[in-house]
């Protein structure tokens, strides 16, 4: 018995995972209750299946990124506004309602521009297009590219706030000392829930690291220096 164990067992245990060879199998499986023999295949089957789960869940982690965006788009949470829309011709102007739209400008910590709306707020009828402007000044001595990220409060009103023209649709580049007036044309959808009488539109300007789109190395450097 002693020798049987000392011979059979180390070989069994030193065999590659799940690949117990047949002759060693036989030594152990000569027991009336054969566990190892049955298990050779089922073990590798279990492992294969579990590895699929692992890979799938790793993918799911990344799938949460677009899912999260879609979820925010559908529900309008986060105040994310939609992309550019073409103004529907048949949108009725609802003159019975007046919506006050306030404008807010803010800058990300690392952004050295000056940035403000040219008017604090305006009153519009739902369905009536309105044109307002923001102004940005670059007082540094180098050209800077910025990207504005819009947000509308209250969040549930975001989907009713439609922009037909906005400086946030593209990157903005300001040369040293340049001042730029940046228009926004928007329309408030008449479907806006009745209890909403005020909207706030806010833009945050983020600095776009130079050469971000084509050089990862310079981005890494830039993000260390500038952010």
């Amino acid at each position: 018995m002693d020798t049987a164990i000392t011979c059979a067992i180390p070989q069994l245990y030193n065999a590659t995972d799940g690949e117990v060879r047949a002759e060693e199998d036989n030594k152990v499986t000569s027991h009336p209750n054969n566990i190892e023999g049955v298990n050779k295949n089922s073990t590798s089957r279990v492992i294969t299946r579990l590895m699929f789960v692992v890979v799938g869940m790793f993918g799911f982690g990344f799938a949460m990124v677009p899912l999260y965006d879609v979820f925010c788009d559908i529900t309008g949470i986060n105040g994310k506004t939609g992309d550019k829309v073409t103004l529907a011709e048949n949108m009725q102007v609802d003159t019975s309602r007046v919506i006050e739209v306030e404008f807010i400008a803010s800058l990300n910590d690392s952004m050295p521009w000056e940035f403000k709306p040219m008017q604090h707020s305006i009153k519009v009828h739902p369905g009536e297009p309105a044109r307002i402007s923001y102004v940005a000044v670059n007082r540094t001595d180098k050209a800077i590219v910025g990207q504005a990220v819009p947000s509308v409060a209250p969040g549930r009103a975001a989907e009713y706030f439609q922009k037909t023209e906005c400086f946030c649709f593209t990157e903005q580049k300001l040369e040293p000392g340049e001042e730029k007036e940046m228009p926004v044309i928007f329309v408030v959808d008449p479907q806006l829930p009745d209890d909403v009488t005020q909207l706030a539109l806010s833009y945050t300007f983020f600095i776009k690291p130079s050469g971000a789109s084509n050089s990862t190395a310079s981005l890494a450097n830039n993000s260390n220096q500038e952010i």
Partner: protein, 530 residues
């Protein structure tokens, strides 16, 4: 431990000698022992960090350490306790006990088992290296809290964050391999006659935990990979400037993080479900309800993650959903507590150290469970969020919960592992000092938390001074009484009263049919379970 076993069983237990025995081990018992020692060492490392934190918080104002270093301590304490102590501790118990409990000769994948263990010293070596570099003045160790929220860990993370990311990747691979191994073992290597519904509860809880690990550790790997790409490869997953969203980080992290807390508590439920029937000398009350409760907790853990994020500006419908889903967890958990109490009801109870720790677990874990219920109420959570109330809650469930159950398990099974009885007097002393010290440490945190003391801050307002001083005293009692535990474990390994095969009068199960200490190779002939 090895020396003793060799001495008595050399004649029929052939095993490799020297360092190679441990480096190349494919034996589930040796690997289990290494996991447990690793967890024990990390327990003292993480505990020392906790004492630095508590010493700094003994008085208001800044005394001992710089705020920057304090942040590194809170971060590493959390990471080490979660990934380096509780998880390896339970994996070690699973390695030792699961094959013996189901009548298997070893784990299904012995070599992978070796690899999953030996990744851990590398992972934690790297994490701790970042702290050593910080102490040598070469930049900061990770300092963003164990939850490593973006942008703290991406835009503002210190250079050592990349060490941290790689370390988490290694831990994740280790856990995933360990989990696959446990599932394969349980599914394929049960003794003839041991149907799923005859498995000991500890095996059941680990079976379900292993599935949780497989489902969420890859998500953790995903989130740290996104961090890595944001930091070094110009992506913007979590950076608003590039169209990303930092709140997304929290969603992905907590999708991992909430099941993770059940990964740390389900095996504890299993341990307690083994110990309570033994010392009450009754069968466990409601075996099948225990199994179903464990499975329901595991399922619910996937749909409650955003209760960690009530203050991020979720819509009301979302808050309500996550609030009610979280409350649901109280039901299966309540079933478990009820079953443990009912198992003790009219049992012939004795109070050896494992039973004391198990009862301490039930009592203190339940307190932690109740504070959890308080926090799941979304409107109330705005007051509790990021305060010491949260710290009190998760230390009740993790320190006096999960860690208590590991201590209980060590006392319960160490006679089987070493063949010797531990010192009962020292064990009881260890329990009472730990239980009393733990409550002095964690209970006052409820009060300062409710009054608004924020977590992770090295200084606080004067009105919190008394309770913080109390907590610090408790921390030192709690911390130093673990040295008794260490001494007791070493003493038991070196000798002591010989344990019988059954060890405990009320013990029932395959592992107790083996000799004490358990031979190097056990159940080479499968037992038959009636």
């Amino acid at each position: 431990m090895s020396a003793v076993i060799e001495e008595h069983h050399d004649h029929h237990d052939h095993k490799p000698s020297g360092i190679g025995r441990w480096l190349f081990s494919t034996n589930h018992k040796d690997i289990g022992t290494m996991y447990l020692w690793f967890s024990f060492i990390m327990f003292f490392v993480g505990g020392a960090m906790a004492l630095v934190i508590r010493a700094e918080l003994f008085q208001p104002g800044l005394q001992l350490v710089e705020p920057e270093f304090f942040n590194q301590m809170t971060t590493l304490h959390g990471l080490i306790m979660v990934f380096g102590v509780i998880m390896p501790g339970f994996v070690g118990l699973a390695n030792w006990m699961v094959p013996m409990m189901i009548g298997a000769p070893d784990m299904a994948l012995p070599r992978m088992n070796n690899w999953s263990f030996w990744l851990l010293p590398g992972a934690f070596g790297m994490l701790i290296a970042s702290l050593i570099m910080s102490l040598m003045g070469m930049g900061s160790a990770p300092n963003f809290g164990w939850t490593f929220y973006a942008p703290l860990s991406t835009t503002y993370g210190p250079a050592s964050t990349d060490y941290f990311i790689f370390s988490v990747h290694l831990m994740g691979i280790s856990s995933i391999m360990g989990a696959i191994n446990i599932i394969a073992t349980i599914m394929n290597m049960r003794a003839p006659g041991m149907s799923y519904m005859k498995m000991p509860i500890f095996v059941w809880t680990w079976f379900i935990t292993a599935y949780l690990l497989i489902a969420v550790m890859p998500v953790l790997a995903g989130v740290v990979t996104m961090m890595l790409m944001d930091r070094n490869f110009g992506t913007s997953f979590f950076n608003a400037a590039g169209g990303g969203d930092p709140v997304l980080f929290q969603h992905v992290f907590w999708f991992f993080g909430h099941p993770e807390v059940y990964i740390m508590i389900l095996p504890a439920f299993g341990v307690v479900s083994q110990i309570v029937p033994t010392f009450a000398r009754k069968k466990i009350f409601g075996y099948s309800s225990m199994v179903y409760a464990t499975a329901s907790i595991a399922f619910l853990s996937f749909i409650v993650w955003a209760h960690h994020m009530f203050t991020t500006g979720m819509p009301v419908a979302g808050e309500l959903f996550f609030m009610y889903a979280t409350m649901l967890i109280a039901i299966p958990t309540g079933v478990k507590v009820f079953n443990w109490v009912s198992t003790m009801w009219r049992g012939s109870m004795t109070f050896e150290t494992p039973m004391l720790f198990a009862i301490g677990f039930i009592f203190l874990f339940t307190i932690g469970g109740f504070t959890g219920l308080m926090m799941c109420i979304a409107p109330a959570d705005f007051q509790y969020h990021d305060t010491y109330f949260i710290v009190a809650h998760f230390h009740y469930v993790l320190a006096t919960g999960a860690a208590f159950s590991i201590m209980a398990a060590v006392y319960f099974w160490i006679p089987k592992w070493t063949g010797n009885m531990y010192d009962e007097k020292l064990g009881k002393l260890h329990f009472w000092l730990t239980a009393i010290g733990g409550n002095i440490l964690f209970f006052p945190m409820h009060f300062v938390g409710l009054a608004g003391m924020p977590r992770r801050i090295p200084d606080y307002s004067l009105q919190f001074a008394e309770f913080n001083a109390m907590a610090t005293v408790g921390a030192f009692i709690f911390g130093f009484s673990q040295l008794i535990f260490l001494y007791n474990v070493i003493k038991t390994i070196r000798g002591g009263e010989k344990a019988t095969d059954q060890v405990w009068e009320g013990a029932d199960g395959l592992e107790w049919t083996l000799p004490s200490p358990a031979p190097f190779h056990s159940f080479t002939t499968p037992p038959t379970v009636k």
